[in-house]
Symmetry: C2
Subunit: 363 residues, 2 copies
Amino acid sequence: MRQDASPRQGQRDTASVTLQDIAAHAGVSRSTVSLVLRESPLVAERTRSKVQRSIKTLGYVYNRGAAALRGSRTSTLGVVVYDIANPFFGAMVAGIDAALNREGYVSFLANSEDSPARQQRFLERMREHRVDGILLCPAEGTDPGLINTLSGWGMPCIQVLRHVGEPPFDYAGTDFHQGVCQAMDHLVALGHRRIAFLGGHYEHSATRERWQGYRESLERHGLTYQRLLRSTVTRRDGVAMIQQLMAESPAPSAVVCHNDLVAFGAMLGLRRLGLVPGADCAVIGTDDVEEASLGEPALTSVATHPHAIGEEAARLALRRIANPEGAREQVVLAPRLKVRDSCGATRPEPGATWTEPATGEHA
Amino acid sequence: MRQDASPRQGQRDTASVTLQDIAAHAGVSRSTVSLVLRESPLVAERTRSKVQRSIKTLGYVYNRGAAALRGSRTSTLGVVVYDIANPFFGAMVAGIDAALNREGYVSFLANSEDSPARQQRFLERMREHRVDGILLCPAEGTDPGLINTLSGWGMPCIQVLRHVGEPPFDYAGTDFHQGVCQAMDHLVALGHRRIAFLGGHYEHSATRERWQGYRESLERHGLTYQRLLRSTVTRRDGVAMIQQLMAESPAPSAVVCHNDLVAFGAMLGLRRLGLVPGADCAVIGTDDVEEASLGEPALTSVATHPHAIGEEAARLALRRIANPEGAREQVVLAPRLKVRDSCGATRPEPGATWTEPATGEHA
DNA sequence: TGGTGTTTTTGGATTGATCTAAAACTTAGC
DNA sequence: GCTAAGTTTTAGATCAATCCAAAAACACCA
């Protein structure tokens, strides 16, 4: 109820052009402008272009906050990973970003550092911000009931890479089971009979799948040597585990590793023992991170395509938001074994297999 | 103006407890509840605890969207990097996340892929979401006027690592100039007289600083050999550049590299030529990424502390939001040279200098 | 010309918080 | 007991959009 008619009297904020102002300028109602903005087919072509011209002229900026208050969508998503400094997650987040960007969504990112408490704090904050959904790589030790809690909050949750709780739930990841089988089959075909598996905690779904793949492969090929070492999954663990194993009798002739970091550690450990990775003991990693194709020897690895997983997860989230009651989906990508030198299959002269990925620059 | 008194009649949404409902339950007004939520000292202790009890009982969830509409803060920030898959940025984002988390802020993340167009789209979206500020690692080719544009939009912008436009602006980064000087001084002290610099585009502030550091160091030490090769900054570039240099006469006895990736490439290139990094040609990188301390030989590198830069940048952003008209700040961290094997200064037996960083696990 | 059926457009209520200025309640002093 | 000052609390307007139901504009045909 402004006494005088002049619109911007008190404040000279440039950023305060509203629907109302557009409506006045174009000589239509607020509602019509709103319809134009949302590209409704209801509004006539002449009106539409007239309104659009006013929008341009006045330099209007859509206020998503206000829209979200009345409407039902915020066009935002929460993304939780447990180690953003890991390039694997970097690539995954890049995939998520690419897929969301195409649909006009933006995402809040949080790094849980594998702490359920931090994860919980962030999720509560996301709830206050009314995000339309959550992409969650659950932190170690996450309460299995969390997914139901989130669903009770009305926040659809897509689990990524790991999952907790009972199916059905939405999930996007890689078939770790199959990945390990591929690695095992390859080693068996090369003649290996004593193959060990290195690394992983029991708590994770992703770890259980790998171990299951290992045990099943042993059985399928009728191998009796079985050696599975638990650990956290750093380079240092790789070094320690391979040194322990090589001191045993009989020692393994090949190892499959939980991820590439463990594999790098294993190779380093072998070298310290005066052994040659690929010749004295074959090494296969998981993930196929950028450094895998470099180094001496180049690491054979099961590629898990983090960028693609990110895209799939994001797309699944958008599907779930559009249709909250739809059947839960599990998107599981097939991994692919990238054979290089560390498994002893190839032994080219130096430089012959040089393939450089195009990414990885900065500043 | 509900006709009947019963509050949740139409919809049975659990998630729709509002200030109004709390007020009714506690027997106070909406305003009082709002004051309690914002921890205002105005409200009496008795009332406060009564209201707090109602909040707990009814399971109220704060609606930040509604608060942001009326108030002036959204408690959100936009973060733009150009390559989130690069572990350097991963660490930086982790630092940002840690600092923001402490203050109740959350951040939107976008990956510009060094495309000014993508960057622009994201910034416009951030404007629609009314973020309180922006942390920007400007994409290559960013219009120098962008910072002023953002300031015209009322979005404070902190530039990170790189900067465009004219000072004064808010900035957080590393002293690249000093970093290169440290590396050069070290090499000169080891007796090197022919030192080359590898990599970088001209467009970036960060690159210009490095080159300036290189040229100044040469002058200060009275060195006449000068060789500066431009390039993008991948491993492949490192390989190509070192091979070109070693074919020249005289060849350099040491190289300082734009970042660690280029340095890894340079070491690989040397090995392909049958030369030993550190013995036949010293190599120093920049960033001190995780892999630097591993590998053969371990890479001497100028540590640029990405996590700390992220924290500083985030803190600066919060300061600027609290005081938009305050003097612009430049937070420039000092880099530190980490001497390892690749510069030939040390030559320990294998395994003696093993230091494993604690991070880097996944899934 | 009037009735009918479609397109378009619109006012008013609504979303859930904050802001402002004023009202209600304490306490103290004379 | 009454006023003044200080402390708490409150009603109503406001922020900038969307939703809904109803009104207006238009087209078509008997």
